[in-house]
C-alpha cells in the first residue's frame, strides 16, 4: 500500500496524481461523493462549509482556462480560499525551481496544491515534498495524466449510461499526446468497461497502447460500430505543423466526427469532448450541438467531481 504515493498509511486518498493505480473503491467513492455534490450545485446557495478556512493554491505552470476555472469554482463552493498563480508569468521565469515555489507557498499556509505542469511527473515531485497535512491534485502533467478530467468523463458516462458493464467506449483522435485519453483508459479498465477502443491515424496512436487492454482501429467507421460512448480528443493545432498529419481538412475527412460517421454507433450513443473543441477539425458542429452531445454537461459535472476530490483528500 505504501508504495502508492497517492494513498496514506490507511490506504485513503492523500493526493490525486493519477487514476492509474487507484483502487476501484476509491474511484467509486469519488464518483459517489460527486453525485452528492451535484445536488449542492443545483441549489439556491451553491456552497457548503466543508473547507472553510482552508487555502487552495492553483499552480498553473501551463496555460488553462477551463480546468483552472472549474477548480476555482469547486474550491469556492467548498468555502475554501483560492489563490490562483499563473506561474508562467511569475517567479519561474526568474529562475526559481518548482520545489522552491512550493516551499514558499507552503510557508503561506497552503492546504491543497492544484498543479498543472508541462513536465510529466511534476505533481509527483511536489507530492513527495509537501508537509503531511498538505495535499496535491494533478490538474494535468505533460502527456502523462489528467485524473480529474478522466474522473469527470467517468462520471458523465455513469450518469448517462448508469453501468459500465456491457459498454463499448471509443476514444478518437490524438491519443499519442493525450493525457486525457490515458487517464480515461485507466479509469474505464478499473471500473470494468469490457470494450475500450482507440481510433486514430497510425502517427497519433502510441505503439504500446494495446497493452492497456484497448482495441486499436485506424478506420473510424469500423471503430465506431456499435459504440455506446464516443470520446473525441482535441487535435492540437501545433501537431499539424510537424510531419504527423497532412492537413486539418484531410484529418477531418478521415477522423472528424460527423452525423454520418456517428450513424454506425448505437442510436443512443453519447458524444464527449474534454474541450476546447476545434469545430471542423475533430468534430462537426452538427454533432457538437446535436442530441448526442453531452459536452456541456461534462463541464458542469467537472465542478462536482473536483469538489469531491478536494473534500476527500483534505479530510484524509
Amino acid at each position: 500500500m505504501q508504495s502508492n504515493p497517492q494513498l496514506n498509511a490507511k490506504g485513503e486518498l492523500q493526493h490525486l496524481l493519477s487514476i492509474e493505480g487507484l483502487p476501484r473503491e476509491i474511484v467509486t467513492q469519488i464518483l459517489d461523493t460527486a453525485e452528492s455534490f451535484a445536488g449542492v450545485t443545483e441549489r439556491e446557495v451553491k456552497k457548503v462549509p466543508l473547507l472553510r478556512g482552508k487555502s487552495v493554491f492553483n499552480l498553473f505552470f501551463e496555460p488553462s482556462t477551463r480546468t483552472r476555472t472549474t477548480f476555482e469554482i469547486a474550491a469556492k463552493r467548498l468555502s475554501a480560499d483560492v489563490i490562483n498563480l499563473n506561474i508562467a508569468a511569475s517567479s519561474q521565469t526568474k529562475g526559481e525551481s518548482l520545489l522552491d515555489t512550493v516551499a514558499n507557498l507552503s510557508a503561506m499556509q497552503a492546504d491543497i496544491f492544484v498543479v498543472r505542469h508541462e513536465a510529466s511527473g511534476a505533481p509527483y515531485l511536489v507530492a513527495r515534498h509537501v508537509k503531511p497535512h498538505e495535499h496535491v491534485i494533478n490538474a494535468g502533467d505533460g502527456r502523462h495524466a489528467h485524473p480529474t478530467q478522466g474522473l469527470l468523463d467517468l462520471y458523465t458516462i455513469r450518469h448517462f449510461k448508469k453501468d459500465f458493464r456491457g459498454l463499448t467506449v471509443a476514444i478518437v483522435g490524438d491519443v499519442l499526446h493525450s493525457r486525457v485519453a490515458r487517464s480515461l483508459i485507466h479509469g474505464l479498465t478499473t471500473l470494468g468497461a469490457p470494450e475500450v477502443r482507440v481510433i486514430g491515424p497510425q502517427t497519433l496512436v502510441p505503439t504500446g497502447v494495446a497493452a492497456l487492454g484497448v482495441h486499436v482501429f485506424h478506420d473510424m467507421r469500423e471503430g465506431l460500430k456499435g459504440c455506446d460512448v464516443v470520446v473525441m480528443l482535441r487535435l492540437q493545432n501545433e501537431r499539424m505543423r510537424g510531419a504527423l498529419l497532412p492537413s486539418a481538412q484531410e484529418y477531418f475527412k478521415n477522423y472528424g466526427l460527423t452525423l454520418e460517421k456517428l450513424s454506425v454507433a448505437k442510436p443512443d450513443a453519447i458524444v464527449m469532448h474534454p474541450g476546447p473543441m476545434n469545430r471542423g477539425v475533430e468534430i462537426d458542429s452538427s454533432v457538437a450541438d446535436g442530441p448526442h452531445s453531452v459536452i456541456l454537461p461534462q463541464v458542469t459535472f467537472g465542478i462536482a467531481v473536483r469538489m469531491a476530490v478536494m473534500s476527500i483528500v483534505a479530510g484524509n
Partner: protein, 167 residues
C-alpha cells in the same frame, strides 16, 4: 436490556403529529435511520407535500478529524423550504450535533417558517442546546454503546444497541 418497540413508537409519533399538521407542513428525514423513520411517518400521515431526504455529511463539525464518510447520499428536497413548517426527522437524538448540521444545511435551501424536531428515541448526552418537540421514548444507553435504528428486509423497524466505533 429491553429496548422499546420501534414499530409501536412510530404509530405513537404519527398519532401525536397528525393533529399538528397544517397546509404548510413538510417533512425531511436525515440519512440513514431518520430517512427510514420519515418514510414511515410520511406514509402513515398521508402527507401531501413530497418527502425530503438529507445527508448532512457536508455540514458535519468533525470533518477535520474524521474526513468525509464513505458514500454520502445526495440530499433531495423536492419542495421550496421557504415559509414551510418543517418536521425534521431523525432516529436517535444524542449530542445534538447532527441536528445542528441539518439546520445549517436547511438554511442554505431557504428560510423555513419553523422547524420541529421529531425523533424516535432520545438517549440524552446533549452537547448543544437542542431538544426534540416530538420524541417516541427516552432510552438510557450504557457507556460505549451506540443506539441506532435498523430496518429489516421486510421493512420492519427496530432499535438496536451496537458497540460504539470511535468514542
Amino acid at each position: 436490556m429491553q429496548l422499546p418497540d420501534a414499530e409501536k413508537l412510530c404509530e405513537q409519533l404519527a398519532a401525536e403529529l397528525a393533529p399538528k399538521l397544517g397546509p404548510k407542513s413538510a417533512m425531511i428525514g436525515l440519512y440513514t435511520g431518520g430517512a427510514w423513520l420519515a418514510e414511515r411517518l410520511h406514509k402513515l400521515l398521508d402527507m401531501k407535500s413530497p418527502l425530503g431526504l438529507m445527508d448532512i455529511a457536508f455540514y458535519r463539525d468533525d470533518y477535520h478529524e474524521q474526513g468525509l464518510h464513505h458514500d454520502p447520499k445526495r440530499t433531495r428536497i423536492p419542495f421550496d423550504v421557504s415559509g414551510r413548517d418543517l418536521l425534521l426527522v431523525d432516529d436517535v437524538l444524542y449530542t445534538g450535533r447532527t441536528v445542528r448540521a441539518a439546520m445549517n444545511e436547511l438554511f442554505d435551501y431557504g428560510r423555513p417558517a419553523s422547524i420541529s424536531l421529531v425523533v424516535l428515541a432520545d438517549r440524552g448526552g446533549r452537547q448543544l442546546p437542542i431538544c426534540a418537540q416530538y420524541c417516541g421514548a427516552k432510552v438510557a444507553v450504557p457507556a460505549g454503546r451506540r443506539l441506532s435504528l435498523t430496518r429489516a428486509a421486510d421493512g420492519r423497524l427496530a432499535l438496536a444497541l451496537e458497540p460504539d466505533r470511535a468514542e
